[in-house]
Symmetry: D2
Subunit: 384 residues, 4 copies
């Protein structure tokens, strides 16, 4: 058990940012870490003001992440940051993450972890060499009922997994382009900042990660269509992927950010030879189990006879919604516990949080989908 | 307006059959037609007994549909059948339908209308030459809220249609093969009776027809995977189809009969530039409308300000479920009204029921999906 | 087994009426009875025209129910009506039902069966003396999953029944009074026609009957508030009832027809010591079973391992909605089978349809609620 | 704006407690306060260990709340606690709250705030005399869509409020008594600790508070039944209340903790002359609006065109569940802002958090329900 809170620093997430504050809430929720400093903006004034609102020690506020890495690395062990949290736009993830890994810090980074597979593999190599832990924030895997789903499959309750159907449907692209939205998403349409993919990188990686986390299945090959309906800069905002997993299972995965009226509709359906599962992110507290014998069971977070992994992940009893921040906090807790084990001198491997191997697999997924969509699939015309 | 009930004859649908009685209920529900005879089985005794249970005139009970066609055609006009209903296994549809068309009867036939596109086109040609009406029973298009959806799109309420997502998920194949089911579905696994396709023909045609009915979109080309997980005889029981519609819209359609725990889960989502629609067959009384501005509207059958087509299709007020038989009856009512118009000497074209053109389009869909799935799609492997 | 369809006559239900056609569809759906005549209106012309649209024999069309009763009673046995269906306004139920009972016909009557308890008891006495069967159309008891609920409780699956919560929420009163509705409901506000109660008589009797049918519980005593928010004529359009059942169970029953936006929201929750049930009329195909151990089970019409009573009541397989007409038809089928047994000389008692004893219990419920609401309950004021 | 985090102390909430950690998470979530000390248990060792796990300064850990109040009151202003959080069993609330008020601290206290109305009024008087702020944690009022509901009604969108239906259904009593549960709820059955009411005090006060918060309605008088089905000690575990509000509106409120299979099912339905609302605590992110014109609208947290009060209360965008801790945090944020305003010398009154007036009204509700249930209501027997 830890005898102090771990110390975290943040890069990005200044005033007006959305995801920065969520990370702060999540990392502090379980009372095992605290944010003590950061480079919240490249603008010194904005970084200082952001830090002031968080009542942080001005000594530990920076505007250049390189300076931050250098100075923090030199602090005595009892003051030094334990890990950093990178919540900047995609194109900067790679350099920032590399810098902090090389200065000896554990790293938390938003997905996509890099602009391409090559970069992701580089980060994986450096983290491994430096023995630093690296978490990618696929936060949906932190929900208790996602953990229940994973354990049910792992323990064979579904029989053989035969089909996986994943949909991740958002609608912010037309909302934004029709003048409804404000905020900081403009950079998402710029390939220089966002990278070669909009939607597959932004939420396709979440969808792929969730399916992999729950089922353990690996994609053997895929075949995809991707479309740019609204997105500026030619980036895709919609894609459908046919999947052959290693083994017998097939899959179909659809992601889109241009589906009018959708909010954050991530749904996964896993069909086995004995039972099936349905989980919906917008109603995360329940897990629907469908039975060969034609009845359904609804399992509730906090219910009886759930797997220990599901129970350990809940904050509140059944009927009291935990929410996404709590799921997010579960990632941090697992990450922090693993850091703590390493600090104690234990040999660590894994830990129940998404790591750089997930980041590499995610970038490979993005590149494969784009390559398939760009190639000439053998499309066939009906002969009516 | 009619001054008598139309007279219907049935081929198939004897004792123990599932769909025959449903047709009888549907065709009589609106009190504009009645079943007066038929060839309910090739077994004379079984056909007679089936008819006796329906209190039908023994003079009009047959066991050979050819004899039935000949004799009924010779009856005086005021006794002669107006139309026949074909509810036999797939492989017999073509010959039976042709026979009755050629003897001058209007025809109702279960889907798939034939074993291949060629046969379907032949039936279309004969029906046209003989000026006979031909209904295919895609019954889901008879629901009031499906008609509401169609009219909303037709009247531009959704803006441009950009994406169509259709899922038709059943689970009877593993249920049956694991010894849970009884009944008459064994022939469905026999390609000689069922044809070259199990699931795409059986329910893929429903899914395609529903999407076409609601959106009016035509498939430009498609790309598919199809799998035989459980089905005997090598027929596919699962398929996913990527679709490019004529114009801008894209689609993804998944059909399966091997998804453990599913019942009759037909869901269609249509996304437009202004609004989107979700309709679920298992809860057919409501239509979900999603708005660019991030709220949803639930429309109810029997609610206020629905389109006339939706109102005319309801049997009961809102909150009083109509059910599938009532939807089925709406097909019959439109078909019967069209027959009646023709009897009055009117020039008829169309009528709000699925016709042989839908049957042809359906068979083309089946063949295209199978061809695509059998061809070597350009599948691509992730490079992790 | 019957060797002919039973012959039914209708009183009321002429052109423009809502419930008459529903009865016709329901009584003919299972092909064991047919409508052959009736007095559809007191206006001879309207009655004739209504019959013509149904293609009925003009010889059997009347405008005076007394004449109808007399003439039909004199027909030879092989032409005579087997039963009549009374779908007129409430105030006429008693006289019409009495007349046909006394002429030897079995009777189907809409609820409330009479204007007061005294009349209902009179009908019960006459039916008993004349050995005539009497069905009240509490149609919701015909749904398969209602029968499943009843059997689960009867077989002890819920343990001791402790609490029953029933809500029947409609919203047509304000809808109508704000000028939105058309149609034939004006008489419902007239105490001379409707009787001393609007909502408790109209739907409270359904709610009470459903609770009684499912649980078998008898009301020991009750305590109620009733309010006339909108209803013309001073009739109540809203009531809440606290109930003490015989034995340990308690209940709370709320009915209203002035709840803006409600359609036909009848929901029953039955809580036992081991399990609980929730059934909603607007989604009648499923039954929610809640378990002491904090998971739910969803049972589906047509699913596996349901009670025989539930299976026998379904028309279509799971996932194919049956709807209210099919539930209604189940009442008729049970009634018709019981008539047929009596025709065969069997001693009959009961049969799975709501009978005159239900009608008597319903009228007693109405009178008790009104009496309680009119009395000075011991209301207590908070002492803030 | 504040220039520091406020300092909070906790009484109760030691290792193994449920609600203490929730308060800590909630009060720190928005980064405007922090827990710095407390008396976590009357057992010195347990209190110390609890504090150690929270990495608190051992100097500020107590086991006697009186000592805590005295010592903390003497600390210099820049170290002194700003407020205390009382999360002990019911019977101790009064004395602890009084003590801290009298020593000049603002107070947060779990509901019920006291064992009877008299005590609640005493606390109200002292808080007023001492000008100390007093928050009761009716946390459900912190949800964004509850605030939306309140504003819609306040702004007349529903027209006149006519009927309020509240259900708060839990099932932990039989779960616990049948040996399924563990944990610290045994004291709830002991009237000496819990007070004269189990369920009405425990969750009836939440239900009443929610209805009052949303509608602004005041109870004129009520009439209730209360039952002890399972609860030890004779305390009620189930109650139904008929309500006459001041003005025209009527209500029915049911609360129970013995309903097998229920989790934390708090549902409120408010019916107006124009529109109605339904909100369910277990799915708190949406608000159902039902319209006189027979369609529904689903509003989403984070959607467009919500009231500012709803928007200000969200942590995450639509589709990303906030959960109950976030709602709880909103109470704390409002309370903390009000304290801060007072610290700045502003005259404060109100603030959007439940206060001691709510506590007084809640205790009056409990006493009135118990008095009504104990009195002889005029129960009436059906005369079947």
């Amino acid at each position: 058990m830890s005898n102090r809170k771990l110390r975290a620093g943040m890069i990005g997430g200044g005033i007006g940012a959305f995801i920065g504050p969520v990370h702060r809430m999540a990392l502090e929720l379980d009372n095992d870490a605290e944010l003590v400093g950061g480079a919240f903006s490249r603008d010194p004034e904005k970084s200082r003001e952001s830090a002031a609102r968080l009542f942080l020690d001005p000594q530990r506020v920076y505007h250049d992440y390189r300076v931050m890495a250098e100075r923090e690395a030199k602090l005595p062990e009892d003051r030094r940051l334990d890990f950093v949290v990178i919540v900047t736009p995609n194109s900067t993830h790679f350099e920032i993450a590399r810098t902090f890994l090389e200065h000896g810090f554990h790293v938390v980074c938003d997905k996509p972890v890099a602009l391409n597979l090559e970069e992701a593999k580089t980060l994986q190599r450096i983290a491994s060499e430096k023995k630093r832990l690296f978490m990618i924030t696929h936060a949906y895997t932190g929900y208790p009922m996602v953990k229940q789903a994973k354990q049910m499959i792992k323990n064979g309750e579904l029989g053989d997994i035969l089909k996986v159907v994943v949909q991740y449907f958002q609608g912010w692209v037309p909302f934004r382009l029709q003048g409804k939205a404000k905020g900081d998403k403009a950079w998402k349409f710029d390939p220089k900042i966002s990278g070669p993919s909009l939607t597959v990188a932004d939420i396709g990686t979440h969808a792929e990660n969730l399916a992999h986390y729950i089922t353990g299945l690996e994609i053997e090959e895929l075949c995809a269509q991707a479309t740019s309906f609204w997105a500026e800069g030619g980036l895709e905002d919609d894609a459908d992927v046919l999947i052959r997993y290693r083994g017998r299972a097939k899959g179909v995965l659809s992601v889109s950010q241009m589906l009018t009226g959708e909010h954050n509709g991530l749904t996964i359906r896993v069909y086995g030879s004995k039972k099936s599962l349905v989980w919906k992110q917008e109603q995360p507290e329940t897990l629907l189990v469908r039975d060969l014998n034609r009845f359904d069971t609804i399992l509730y977070k906090g219910g009886t006879d759930l797997y220990e992994e599901a129970n350990a992940a809940k904050k509140l009893p059944s009927g009291h919604p935990d929410g996404l921040i709590a799921a997010f906090a579960n990632l941090y807790r697992a990450f922090i516990q693993t850091i703590w084990q390493q600090l104690q001198g234990e040999q660590v491997s894994g830990g129940d949080y998404p790591n750089i191997a997930d980041g590499v697999r995610g970038m490979a997924f993005v590149e494969t989908v784009l390559e398939s969509a760009a190639s000439e699939l053998k499309w066939i015309k009906p002969k009516v």
